[in-house]
């Protein structure tokens, strides 16, 4: 399955329609203004939501019209993307964020870097000694930059906290 410009446009159009309508419905519950001279808190979100939904509809419809005109020939007009790769990337980051809560930033980052560098290098990626070395060096450098240089306390993780 591939994701090309046409499909992505349709998806963005659909998201705009849903967000716009949701904003209009939610804004109806905002309390009215306290004075007659103010338009109140719901006018701007409602107007933006309505225009966004309309633009989303036009984008969605124009995509479908173009698709029916050009047919299958349009499929190859933009570089296709393996959706699995993208989903893998998003799930990978989500898992990384989940692990940070338990193992802390430093350890989770090294594991994430090792897996991603290894996978992106292809079949031999995990066999190369430079993969774990790079993961450790980059992970520690980022950690040091934030914690020591910028004094930003990155998460230490529940496991380390409970051990301490």
């Amino acid at each position: 399955m591939v994701l090309n410009e046409k499909k992505a446009s349709g998806l963005i159009g659909l998201m705009a329609i849903v967000s716009g309508i949701a904003a209009i419905i939610t804004a109806r519950d905002f309390p009215p203004s306290l004075t007659d001279t103010d338009v109140g808190p719901s006018i701007f979100p409602t107007a933006y939501g309505a225009i966004l939904a309309l633009l989303g509809l036009v984008l969605f419809a124009s995509g479908s019209r173009r698709a029916s005109k050009r047919g299958a020939a349009d499929e190859g007009s933009t570089p296709p993307l393996d959706i699995a790769k993208f989903v893998f990337g998003v799930v990978g980051v989500a898992a990384y964020l989940w692990i940070i809560d338990y193992a802390g930033f430093a350890i989770s980052t090294i594991i994430y870097l090792w897996l991603m560098i290894g996978l992106m290098r292809g079949a031999a990626g995990f066999r190369q000694i430079s993969t774990p070395v790079l993961a450790i060096l980059i992970g520690l450098a980022v950690y040091a930059a934030f914690v020591m240089l910028l004094q930003v306390p990155l998460p230490t993780g529940l496991w380390l906290d409970s051990a301490a």
Binding site: S9, G20, F30, T35, T37, L52, L55, G89, Y112
Partner: protein, 507 residues
């Protein structure tokens, strides 16, 4: 004269802070690398570095980001010249003649011309910024809520001009940003809107959204691309331009710097437009226009002076009016807000010393850029060989750490991830992210000032057309908004007429 004295004071203040100057050096170095690496945009570099500035003094942070901005705009030319891969959209104009020069064995000359032209363009634009900014700020001090509303609308109207290929997609992105900007507390009543009861959403998580849209989205994009790095096979040779080379390009450089600065001041017109307009003008003025595209050093000089001339110009409306002209200046505006500094006409009254120290620092950034580029171009050129298998995870890790660092909150990291996914879909759909950022920044300004103006005029909408500045700005906004659509319509009509007159021409 006042500006000159203030600048000297600023320079004295800057010289007393060696660590601020170090930040300028670090920023330019990082910018050079970010700009040179194809696929990494200047906006992404600035967005990634933004969280690093959180704990810094305002001057230090702003110099770091300005260094990344300037270095990034210039850095794009390195790969454009050596590999015909423009590191930034503006460098596409440089590639036209720069790569031709490389193929003729004149890579060093092309790089030298690009460096000197970028330096000159940048310095001229910063000088214009220094002397024009106080005047514009003085004028803008007269603005009340009505004028500020009109100014925000004018800023928003440029969405049509920064939409790239499709006005529809640009408008959609802009209105999504405007709607997103309404999340949080109502500006007048202080009631929560669209927060779902989450206190984290009482103000729009602007910076995590920026990091997601510009950095995480690029990282996701890299996953789908080939991981092979471009290979550099060319010998670079002498980089420092000879006296004869300088004599040949100085006229082009000065003219293109002026064009770039003027274009930079217009909100929405970025370095890419400046580079191509300057290139076109250089070709028009040239005695040998037929050499353009075949290795004319004036072509490289024009494109680079134009692109870098844009940088100081773009900062003018951001600093004096609080209106960012593009994504990079929008992120820099976010950095100022993060530091508790409100850009706009009062900036010069309330933070005069900081502003003029920053101006002195901007000039310093260009001096650093000149020295660093001439000394380290060979090494920067080799850095483009960093494979995506390392870059992609590194960008993602920096995005996670950066989003967390803003408020020590994993919630912000989640927002960054969602923005990254949406940003990636936007890239695939050809929907530009810059209008969304503009909507996010200018949305609250437009809404709060409109409602304030309405309250001040006791519910009457007269202020929209009875106040001269407001009416002028709103009229300008209408023209800016509809000009691209009108021009596209005219082009289409002309093309249709051409086809009707010469039906055979179609085949």
């Amino acid at each position: 004269m006042d500006s000159l004295l203030a600048l000297l004071d600023g320079a004295r203040n800057l010289l007393g802070q060696w660590d601020a100057m170090l930040m300028a050096v670090a920023g330019v170095a990082l910018g050079l690398v970010v700009g040179a690496l194809p696929g990494l945009s200047v906006a992404m570099g600035v967005a990634i570095m933004l969280p690093f500035t959180y704990g810094m003094e305002p001057l230090h942070g702003l110099l770091l980001l300005s260094g990344v901005f300037f270095g990034g705009v210039y850095g794009g030319s390195i790969t454009a010249i050596l590999l015909r891969i423009p590191g930034t959209p503006a460098a596409a104009a440089t590639a036209l003649d720069g790569y031709a020069m490389t193929r003729q064995g004149r890579a060093g000359q092309a790089l030298g011309v690009a460096t000197v032209s970028s330096f000159t363009g940048g310095v001229i634009s910063v000088l214009v910024l220094i002397f024009l900014a106080p005047l514009l700020a003085q004028f803008a001090l007269r603005f009340s809520a009505a004028e500020s509303f009109a100014l925000a609308v004018f800023g928003l109207s440029i969405i049509a001009s920064i939409s790239g290929g499709s006005v529809l997609k640009g408008l959609l992105s802009g209105f999504a940003g405007l709607l997103l900007a309404t999340v949080g507390m109502d500006p007048l009543l202080g009631l929560p809107r669209f927060t779902g009861g989450m206190s984290e959403l009482y103000s729009v998580p602007f910076i995590p959204i920026m990091i997601g849209l510009f950095a995480a989205a690029e990282a996701f994009k890299m996953l789908s691309e080939s991981s092979h790095a471009a290979e550099l096979k060319t010998a670079i040779g002498r980089i420092l331009p000879t006296r004869e080379t300088l004599r040949n390009i100085w006229g082009t450089v000065l003219r293109s710097s002026g064009i770039g600065t003027a274009i930079g001041i217009i909100p929405g017109a970025g370095a890419d437009i400046a580079a191509f307009v300057a290139y076109g003008e250089a070709k028009r003025f040239s005695k040998a226009p037929e050499t353009f595209g075949k290795g004319a050093m004036q072509g490289v000089a024009a494109a680079e002076a134009g692109a870098n001339g844009c940088t100081g110009g773009a900062m003018l409306p951001m600093l004096t009016l609080g209106i960012p002209g593009d994504a990079v200046t929008a992120i820099m505006l976010g950095a100022l807000t993060l530091q508790g500094i409100q850009p706009g006409p009062r900036l010069f009254q309330e933070n005069g010393e900081l502003v003029f120290s920053l101006f002195a620092g901007l000039l310093l950034c260009y001096v650093i850029l000149l020295v660093m580029a001439l000394c380290s171009l060979r090494y920067v050129a080799r850095m483009v060989q960093v494979p995506k298998s390392i870059l992609m995870p590194l960008i993602m890790v920096l995005s996670v750490a950066g989003a967390y660092a803003i408020g020590n909150s994993m919630f912000d990291v989640g927002i960054m991830l969602v923005a990254g996914v949406i940003g990636f879909l936007m890239i695939k759909a050809g929907v530009p992210a810059s209008p969304m950022v503009l909507g996010l920044v200018l949305g609250p300004m437009a809404e709060s000032n409109f409602r304030r103006a309405l309250t001040l005029s006791e519910g009457s909408y007269d202020f929209l057309y009875t106040r001269p500045i407001t009416a002028t700005l709103l009229a300008a906004a209408l023209i800016t908004m509809f000009a691209p659509a009108l021009s596209a319509y005219r082009k289409r009509r002309r093309a249709n007429r051409g086809v009707a007159t010469h039906p055979g021409a179609q085949t």
